[in-house]
Subunit: 404 residues, 2 copies
């Protein structure tokens, strides 16, 4: 994007500029401080909490936990919740806490968010891909992966999946698949790391329960972020972890407590200032993630519709080059387009320089070398006019360059 400032970019998965706060920050921190005073805190002590270190597990777990219960049916005791520096830190901490021996492998929905594979690489964990379809992970493939690991004297310790509009796949796990995944997790004894970054973009009334809301056997570790629901610059995320993990001494301790201990070795604690801003925004919206994100969700739904309609119009009509298809996600930021040619850095260079349109090659999201003829289009950072013009440019590019 820096090299081609005039190009229309379908690359960034960043929130739309219109969704960023326009109020001053003081309003939100003041709202959070009022909340602390309502709960009996001394005003001067409350004010100081914004500036001091604070507990590793975070300050605003009460506000976040109530919202998760209210909005998503996730029953979440305060001691099960840890506030993190975005979802990314939550992923790193969870992997470090859960993976105790080299024989344990991480299964990931494939294609996969690079944040989880990056965290696994930082910790030198072995990762096994499991295909993801538009209806969820391939459960037969996952069961095979568990068996294969067992036969090799290893085990699948956890599966990473984003059931509600994955990045980059765009798929959404069906309710049936959710139930069957939880049964498989129980049968094969693995945990599910549920990433809920994009769940809020579901159309009103079409939401499905998160895995964690269906989880009666503590199989699911639920990871979320305020990057899209509120704004990325706060770097505030969270993890619900009501499991127990083994300690060195042969006992067990709560996973959330272990995550908080590990967090002292990574970031000590999440900026209380940033936590207070986020909690203040939540409290201003009745303590509800859904209320906080309603307008944003509508914007992304409109953009997603605009993107698939533009693709239909420009690339679905007679005369368009053959062999081009795309999926139709019901939410999230991303559409995947299948090309009849390799979507590599060279093709992207031509697209940017000659046609003024940018996109993301998909091969980087695959662990098995697949996806090298796919591109990811993000609709989150653009407006309708930009989306339509961008797809016109994309169609011109594909029509001329693929045919020639």
């Amino acid at each position: 994007m820096g090299r081609f400032p005039e190009a229309i970019s379908f690359a960034p998965g960043a929130p739309h500029p219109d969704t960023l706060p326009d109020a001053d920050l003081q309003r939100y921190t003041d709202r959070y401080l009022a909340h602390l005073r309502e709960r009996g805190a001394d005003p001067e002590r409350a004010r100081r909490t914004l500036f001091e270190y604070g507990p590793s597990r975070g300050l605003v777990g009460d506000v976040v936990g109530e919202a998760l219960g209210r909005d998503h049916g996730i029953a979440c005791a305060p001691e099960d919740l840890v506030i993190t520096v975005g979802a990314q830190e939550a992923m790193l901490l969870v992997l470090r806490a859960l993976f105790a021996s080299p024989g344990q492998v991480l299964a990931v929905a494939n294609p996969c968010f690079v944040g989880i594979t990056g965290a696994a690489r930082l910790l030198d964990l072995d990762v096994v891909p499991v295909d993801e379809t538009d209806q969820g992970v391939d459960l037969d493939g996952l069961a095979r992966a568990c068996r294969a690991a067992r036969q090799a004297g290893r085990s699948v310790r956890a599966l990473y999946v984003a059931p509600d509009f994955s990045n980059p796949g765009g798929g959404r796990m069906s309710l049936d698949c959710r139930h069957r995944l939880l049964e498989l997790a129980e049968r094969e004894d693995f945990l599910v790391l549920e990433d809920n970054a994009y769940g809020f973009t579901a159309g009103a009334g079409t939401e499905l329960p998160p895995l964690k809301a269906l989880d009666t056997r503590r199989r699911v570790v639920h990871i979320g972020t305020f990057a899209k629901v509120a704004f990325p610059g706060a770097r505030v995320g969270y993890v619900v972890a009501d499991q127990r993990v083994a300690t060195g001494g042969g006992g067990t301790r709560p996973l959330a407590a272990e995550l908080a201990t590990l967090k002292t070795m990574v970031t000590v604690n999440t900026s209380p200032l940033a936590q207070a801003v986020i909690a203040g925004m939540l409290l201003e919206h009745g303590g509800s993630l859904v209320e906080l994100s309603r307008r944003k969700a509508e914007l992304y739904q409109r953009n997603l519709t605009a993107l698939t309609e533009a693709l239909d119009e420009q690339l679905g009509a007679a005369g368009a080059p053959p062999g081009i298809t795309w999926n139709r996600p019901e939410g999230g930021f991303f559409v995947r387009v299948q090309l009849p040619v390799r979507a590599d850095a060279h093709l992207l260079e031509v697209s940017a320089a000659k046609y003024g349109v940018l996109w993301t090659p998909m091969d980087q999201f695959y662990l098995d070398g697949a996806g090298d003829t796919q591109i990811r289009l993000s609709c989150s950072y653009l407006d309708r006019a930009g989306i339509e013009e961008g797809v016109r440019r994309l169609a011109a590019f594909l029509t001329k360059e693929i045919r020639s």
Copy 2:
């Protein structure tokens, strides 16, 4: 502290409440935005940078880098600097980037800050202790550790040290020791991880140059934090890394670039909001860390003097129990007291419950089991009256309990 709210606590190494900001946050972010506009940024684009993701290496490197040059003589190109979530994240990233094989060990000044040993434990690194005296690390011991590692087919990759008032030791490395350490690093081919959290507390005119300012051969990675110079709740630190590291493909790349890549797997980026607050505070003080922290440094110097004077008066006089000694740090937050008995959890319990005074057992800071008869007293969180009363209680406790 939670269990004994009435006790006077010498435990927390947290900044004094009087040093926390009293202005509203908006003032600081506005100051930073003005800086961006002065440098030619579009006002609306500048405002958005507070709320969006931003680059992994950070937003405010220009402001921080100029301050390091101005105040500490650390020449620091923008591309050598990474802004981190406190010094803790910097330590984790640096260790992960530098330690590429199991044969590499980390030497640490002993006793040692638990943040670095924690980060090493998270990454499963081997750590070797090197004694620290009041004049710096034992260079002969360090040379022996290098030789011993080599003879075992291993190598000391780096030494962690806080030359200016270590936590918990309180020592300050002499200028001669600084020069000789850098020579040894060159001769034995290791890097020095310099932690400068407490350097600002040196009395005016008594400052020594940081190792990084003396480093002509890129042997020093310099780590700092704004937790004490500004306030902890921002969680903003930094690392100056002008080295190069090997890449998988047989080439090299800048260490700072590698740290930024690793940071995408840990926290993605440091909260731009928090960075802007810190940069605004720096800019309000002429872009100088020294100006920003002058009043704080004076407060800690006064407290340190009050603490050693109270110890002299209460425990240095005739009639005090024998075998109790303490060091006299010239700066920092901490005084170490040597007892003639084990300073364990039981002794602390008695001290808290019967005498109303809390302190920190030192054995947790030692890697070799030493220090179990030492306690750490922090003077940072108290006022003169509290320090004096706390030492009176400590003296009563030691006089009665040690004699009985």
